[in-house]
């Protein structure tokens, strides 16, 4: 009898966890006025030398995305970039996932994407494909630079995702969440952060550096939004991000 009761409790607990509880990656409707723009929550390394690679495993979160704007997304990605603001132009190459929703859609569409600058004049190209990994998966994203001021490869789960020709020499690595409407949820909630694991960058072929050691990465949160979005260093290779207005 005791055994049966114990078994029933275990079964009920498991059932709640699997079927009745809130999944860590579930969307969480945010109550914030809409504002169009680019808003970040993550981490940056700028080692003052050429950065050849950055990578991280990012959890495929299922954030809430409002449909106020037709290009509304919530996303997470890794990026190589430079800090040479020449003529007001930044340069970058990035790869990651996004959830995109536009007016008329009941929920968003998930995609894998790569995005990069071209022509040294602020022009950006983007490629997006169906994301078949799905919510809750841990997916490794990686950008590599081939030391010619031009050639980059992006990888997903160690497989070549897209080869690109960009327009810069990278000296920064960034791993971050990004939303394009303040009314969207940044990936992660206060109880269930979105984790960015195995975060590394390279300053030469095979010269790997932990993202957070020996120097902690710089916080990369949009100015004025530190009360909305949060980041924490869990250990030398793990970074967590979350939306402070999501209490899941």
């Amino acid at each position: 009898m005791v055994r049966l009761t114990f078994a029933a409790v275990i079964c009920a607990g498991v059932a709640i966890c699997f079927f009745g509880g809130t999944r860590a990656v579930d969307a969480c409707q945010i109550v914030r006025p809409p504002k169009h723009g680019n808003f970040f929550d993550g981490w940056l390394r700028a080692p003052n030398e050429t950065v050849f690679e950055t990578r991280a495993q990012i959890e495929e979160y299922n954030p809430y995305v409002a449909n106020t704007y037709d290009d509304s997304i919530s996303s997470a990605w890794v990026m190589l970039s430079d800090n040479h603001l020449i003529g007001g132009v930044h340069h970058f190459a990035q790869v990651g996932w996004w959830k995109w929703r536009h007016p008329g859609q009941s929920d968003g569409t998930r995609s894998l994407f790569a995005s990069w600058t071209v022509n040294n004049n602020g022009t950006i190209q983007e490629i997006w494909l169906p994301d078949n990994y799905g919510v809750g998966a841990w997916v490794k994203y990686e950008v590599k630079y081939f030391n010619d001021g031009l050639s980059f490869n992006t990888y997903v789960m160690d497989g070549l995702f897209w080869q690109i020709q960009s327009d810069f020499v990278p000296n920064q690595a960034t791993i971050t969440g990004e939303i394009t409407d303040v009314g969207n949820q940044m990936p992660g909630g206060t109880q269930n952060h979105d984790s960015l694991l195995d975060a590394f960058y390279q300053t030469g072929p095979g010269v790997n550096h932990f993202f957070n050691y020996p120097v902690p990465a710089s916080i990369y949160i949009s100015p004025g939004y530190s009360q909305e979005f949060a980041s924490s260093v869990v250990n030398i290779t793990q970074i967590d991000i979350w939306d402070q207005k999501c209490f899941n």
Binding site: N38, L85, Q94, F113, I124, E126, T180
Partner: protein
């Protein structure tokens, strides 16, 4: 002993000429496949994204889907989205689609199509205003054999240029 027919040499000669001509025609056709022109997409755009798009030829297998179906996939059935062109192409993407694949390339009018946003690095510590972003092109590639969405490709001018105010 086989008796040689007086016309045999002539017939053989004609056959050789015809077969040779067909072979040369097909070789030329495959080696100089016409690069497809898509609205507002330049040769350097193709090169930079490692995409090769050549016109489908009569020798290719016929698509199992229609251009209308491809148009519907690309616009998600939204009739308010303008389509600039639909091209049947042989698509290759270096390192991803190594062998030519028969694909519908649907060029959308960026002014009317819902498109994903421009992401990236805008200088977090600059109090800056993004310059006006102008979508240059948006192309959706749809598999001609089964009508599945393969990928989207877009370019936005001025997207990452900012006006410094600091």
């Amino acid at each position: 002993m086989l008796k040689r027919h007086p016309l045999a040499a002539g017939v053989i000669l004609v056959l050789v000429v015809v077969v040779g001509s067909v072979a040369i025609f097909r070789m030329n056709g495959s080696s100089s496949a016409q690069t497809v022109s898509l609205p507002n997409v330049t040769g350097s755009d193709f090169e930079g994204a490692h995409i090769t798009a050549t016109a489908a030829s009569p020798n290719d297998e016929h698509p199992k889907t229609s251009s209308e179906q491809a148009r519907g996939v690309a616009t998600s059935g939204d009739n308010s989205v303008s389509v600039l062109a639909v091209n049947l192409i042989n698509l290759k993407v270096e390192g991803r689609i190594p062998e030519p694949r028969l694909v519908w390339a649907v060029s959308l009018d960026p002014a009317t199509a819902p498109l994903p946003p421009v992401l990236g690095d805008y200088g977090l510590n600059d109090t800056s205003t993004p310059a006006q972003r102008i979508r240059k092109f948006a192309v959706v590639f749809v598999d001609a054999s089964d009508g599945t969405f393969l990928f989207g490709w877009s370019e936005t001018a001025g997207a990452n240029q900012i006006t410094l105010t600091r």
